[in-house]
Amino acid sequence: MQVLESEEFETPVASRVNYLNATYGLKSWLLTKDHKRIALLYLGSVSFFFFLGSIYAMMIRLELLTPRGDLVQSQTYNKLFTHHGILMVFFFLIPSIPTVLGNFLVPLMIGAKDLAFPRLNLLSWYIYMVGGILTFWALLNGGVDTGWTFYVPFSTTFSNTYVVAAGLGIFINGFSSILTGLNFIVTIHTMRAPGMTWFRLPLFIWAHYATSLIMILGTPVIAITVLLVALERLARIGIFDPALGGDPILFQHLFWFYSHPAVYIMVLPGMGVVSELIANFSRKNIFGYSFVAFSSIAIAVFGFLVWGHHMFVSGQSMYAGMIFSFLSFAVAIPSAVKVFNWTATLYQGSISYDTPMLYGLGFIGLFVIGGMTGLFLAAIGLDIHVHDTYFVVAHFHYIMVGGTVLAYLGGLHMWWPKISGRMYPEGWARFAALVIFVGFNLTFFPQFLLGYMGMPRRYHAYPADLPVWQVLHVMSSAGASILGMGLTLPLIYLVWSMRYGRKAPANPWALPGLEWRTPSPPPTENFAVTPVVTWEAYEFAPPEELKVIGKFEPGDEADHPAVTKG
């Protein structure tokens, strides 16, 4: 509804050369150095792994409809949740927003022609694919039954499955993460357009900067850990297994030293997207810009100091537990600051009900619940009870699905006109957002209740003499099918819109960001001339003042129409 139809603002797109039609053929895609094309390669592969991970999730939910393990054997079930976790965490959640939206938008938002290292960028996609295909091969040929956490000594000594192959896939995939992070950091430091100061950067960029720091500093640790697991498993060198002279708790320290910050790799870019959604669709500058920006950095730094809260019952020292508990409460504060600032941004705004905004509001709503329930788990005395129960499962799905996936979908809708040059069908998109929100809550809210009642994780069967458990599990499974249908809708209509959608103008939402001042889809070089930034972030102006930069059509003025505020 809110899409501006003003003709004077629309750039003709039909005949123009853009990044999609500049060259044709498979080779032009597989050897591309264009960050936008690489983003699309990632979009396809990330969606593929998300689809696979969802199938495993559906089978898990089907099995849990009844207390008895009747659909699958316990061994099959163990592989289902392991595969679901590995695919979703390593091959969807960690890469999703940075590699798709980040790859596409980081250069566009800062006024650069590409990322700093285009070849490394393409290489990181190939590394991702090699890791992904190797892991997927391991999953198909026998699978893995260790859980995505690969806890020792089970993974090194007891499991009879393809642990090393899957681990190798994750190890390889880590390099893709590191290269992407490196690329973003160098790009943001060195390639900002004239006038694009640090505090004029969209918050999406700040969030990606913080994420990149974690990727570079954290990923090597998981790589080393996976290598040590492989070493102990293959060469029987005692590192973790006490029977060989190792220490199983050491593994947990190493694993969570990466995997807790990895949670922030997954959610920080989502927070960046939501800052964009909330500011742009209420046409307000973000309330407390620097607080939101620095809270991202604070989360990235503190996020490295809280890993021990995964180990309150594992046998670490009680005093270590208390320090980790304290720091976990501390890291919750920057997240709370963000939520309050987003909410305050809406005050006296001009709030549209377009689909991206629905996802943004949904994110805040679910993130509040996900974040608050994190406090339950950070309180040691309470965590002892709910640790390794469905309470934890519900909590991290509220953050990962309610947070990251909603932000990803919101971002995909917001920038879809820019990415594809086409508008998505607004009615269907709003309907899908609603279905996803309802389905999500129905799936995961009952799991909080189940968890407090004591339902342990990774159980394919549960006591039949507790009828409430089954009722809650049935609700959860019903919700999962609604959620599944909701997630299928965007897949269908977005693909449909690539061919049949209405052609998108350069700036369908009348936004001030640099990415909207170039045509949709952008040309390969992003901007016809280097833009000069004279406006602050989220400085909204009437649409006729937001001119497209550069000359694309005869008659357009080429003299850097640096927009002055209205």
Binding site: Y151, P242, A243, F329, L346, G349, S350, I369, L375
Partner: protein, 390 residues
């Protein structure tokens, strides 16, 4: 199974009420903030909905006052939760001085229990109501986790070390026991029950198995058959090896200058990895018993050696000074090295095989593949924390 509050499991231990209290407090805080944010969101999106596609709202930069407010207030609330949670955990981590000792060995995929009076159980543990129970737990294979929702307590059971857990049941009944740490194929079958009985019923139940060998007696027998007595002497007075009588809870001077406190884990480690910590004045002559004794036999040996320190069981400091006047002769006793007959002893008096063994065919094979069920103690174990749950 339900209380009057929906979705709260049975509360049957002294800490359950306290954990629920913190849970209710947190639920209250969560509901408050969720409603606050939702109310503001709904108010704003209705009140400030876009009326004209061309409108540009007045920009608002922010407010230091508001930012400080919503940084400080959530921080104070978070600290209140932290302090509450930490105090509660202190109760749960601190082992009581006086408690009914029960030995627990986790194994893919069953729980094995032994009472001090000798009764053994699998996947079912009988305990009296109103008495503190202290579990000393370890595992023969991978990590398990002992979880009783009705008691609101849980502890991982880690190979190569002893973990402790205590609880005091407040009402008789049958409560679910789960393995909470994923441990392989039949993880979800590694469940059981805690049967809480009135003290008189419990005494009756105990007398039902009175002819069984107590862990101390079994440990004493092992002490002889394994040849421990050759160096440590029958009653643990010492000889070529250090004295064991009165050892527990005492400070031990090691030959590398370190001083450690002798506890369960230290004794366990000294059996499986004798070279790890050598008492000052003795040579590294003890052979390892790793692989020769099962975790259950280790627990029996530890229990027997603990029984040689009567002061410890009375909760007082040990009085008798350890005998350290035995200079080493430098030769290992051939008897000690040659005696390896634990397999004969390793019968299972309980009789029934694991009830879950039939479900996953992998159960037996994995067990037999594992050549080495006993591991050395973790070297990082910090002596000071051993009496608490680590």
């Amino acid at each position: 199974m339900q209380n009057w509050i929906p979705f709260i499991p049975d509360a049957a231990s002294t800490v359950a009420g306290q954990v629920d209290g913190l849970y209710f407090y947190l639920t209250g805080v969560t509901i408050f903030f969720t409603l606050l944010v939702y109310a503001l969101l709904i108010l704003f999106i209705i009140r400030y909905r876009r009326r004209n596609p061309r409108e540009i709202p007045r920009p608002i930069a922010g407010s230091i006052k508001l930012e400080s407010m919503w940084t400080v207030i959530p921080f104070l609330i978070a600290m209140s939760i932290f302090v509450w949670g930490a105090r509660l955990s202190f109760t749960q981590y601190r082992m009581p001085a006086e408690a009914l000792d029960i030995y627990v060995v986790g194994k893919q995929w069953m729980w094995k229990f032994q009472h001090t009076t000798g009764q053994r159980e699998i996947n079912e543990l009988h305990i009296p109501v109103g008495r503190k129970v202290k579990l000393t737990m370890t595992t023969e294979d991978t990590i398990h986790s002992f979880f009783v929702p009705a008691f609101r307590t849980k502890a991982d059971v880690v190979p190569g070390r002893y973990q402790y857990l205590w609880f005091e049941a407040t009402k008789p009944g049958r409560y679910e026991l789960f393995c909470a740490e994923y441990c392989g194929t039949n993880h979800s079958g590694m469940t059981g029950y805690i049967v809480v009985m009135e003290p008189t019923d419990y005494d009756n139940w105990l007398s039902g198995g009175a002819n069984q060998q107590s862990p101390v007696a079994a440990g004493q027998q092992l002490f002889q058959t394994l040849g421990c007595a050759t160096c440590h002497s029958d009653a643990g007075q010492g000889g070529r090896g250090p004295a064991l009588a009165g050892l527990l809870g005492k400070q031990v001077q090691l030959n590398n200058g370190q001083t450690i406190t002798a506890d369960d884990s230290y004794i366990r480690e000294s059996i499986t990895d004798p070279q790890a910590k050598i008492v000052a004045g003795f040579g590294p002559i003890m052979p390892t018993f790793k692989g020769q004794v099962s975790e259950e036999q280790l627990l029996q040996l530890v229990t027997f050696i603990k029984s040689l320190s009567p002061a410890q069981t009375e909760g007082k400091a040990a009085t008798a000074p350890a005998r350290e006047n035995n200079p080493q002769t430098g030769t290992a006793s051939p008897e000690a090295q040659g005696t390896t007959a634990p397999d004969v002893q390793r019968s299972n008096p309980v009789g029934p095989t694991a009830p879950n063994a039939g479900q996953g065919g992998g159960a037996q094979s994995t067990e037999s593949q594992r050549s080495n069920p006993v591991g050395p103690t973790n070297n990082n174990a910090r002596p000071k924390q051993r009496q608490r749950r680590q």
